[in-house]
Amino acid sequence: MAPAQAHPRTALSASEEADLVARLRDGDERAFEALVDRHYGTMLAVARGYVRTRAVAEEVVQEAWLGVLNGIDRFEARSSLKTWIMRIVVNIAMTRGEREARSIPFSAFASEKDEPAVDPDRFRDESDGFPGHWRAYPGNWAAAPDDALLSRETLGVVMSAIHELPPAQRVVITMRDVAGCSSDEVCGTLEVSEGNQRVLLHRARSHVRNALERHLDG
């Protein structure tokens, strides 16, 4: 069956991608539909990093698909098809974001003040024997019952924690950990450096861990 229908987390090989691009250029509707199914969620999440409302983000994604169709003949595979599509989303979303007076220079976020992954009070200070070491160990979640971690309630806690994040962190954690994008795909889409991408991911994951800890350890 069509490679485009593989799970979105499975990256296409270069030859599968070339085949897909050829089918799109030929006007193969099934290839297009499979591509839409595969990337819609990630496109929406990326767009939501730049514009205020879900409705506008949906319009951005619709417009981006027209951009994909109109540009597919000029696609030269300098990046992956996925990154190329996501760049189209970002460019349209940024234009819309400016019009809404909400444009976000993503690179600016990585230089905002450094927020520690864990509350500094959780570590011993200079007056203790081992400065920088845990006062009390974090919980051993491996000992927690599986259903506590996999419950609908826990998933809700994780989703609200992601929702609270600043847009750049939210987009990065969604691309990496929900959509299964590689760090290259995130860097190519958002035009941030590898280092900035990792700082954003680190803060985002740390924030979600903190929320999970409050939920699980009560």
Partner: protein, 83 residues
């Protein structure tokens, strides 16, 4: 990366976990990181918490395209094909 050359504190370890999981630490820092885990159960649990966090975030399903939005796109596709 480490403040002192020969060991990492727990407070330093928690800031390096993402790089560790991405396998992007330098060989030297990765070795210091692992040495720390060898004697610190608290940090072993912390790294495990971060792995669990990533797995739990991975349980979130991406949004599917609403049927009417898909119909509109397929309509646009047919127009594009005709043009």
């Amino acid at each position: 990366m480490a403040e002192s050359a020969d060991h990492l504190s727990c407070q330093e370890v928690v800031e390096l976990v993402t790089e560790y999981l991405d396998e992007s630490l330098s060989a030297e820092d990765a070795s210091l990181f692992e040495q720390h885990l060898n004697f610190c159960e608290g940090c072993v649990w912390y790294v495990d918490q971060l792995r669990t966090t990533v797995e739990t975030v991975g349980e979130i399903r991406e949004e599917q395209i609403p049927p009417e939005a898909k119909e509109r796109l397929l309509g646009a596709f047919r127009d594009w094909r005709r043009s």
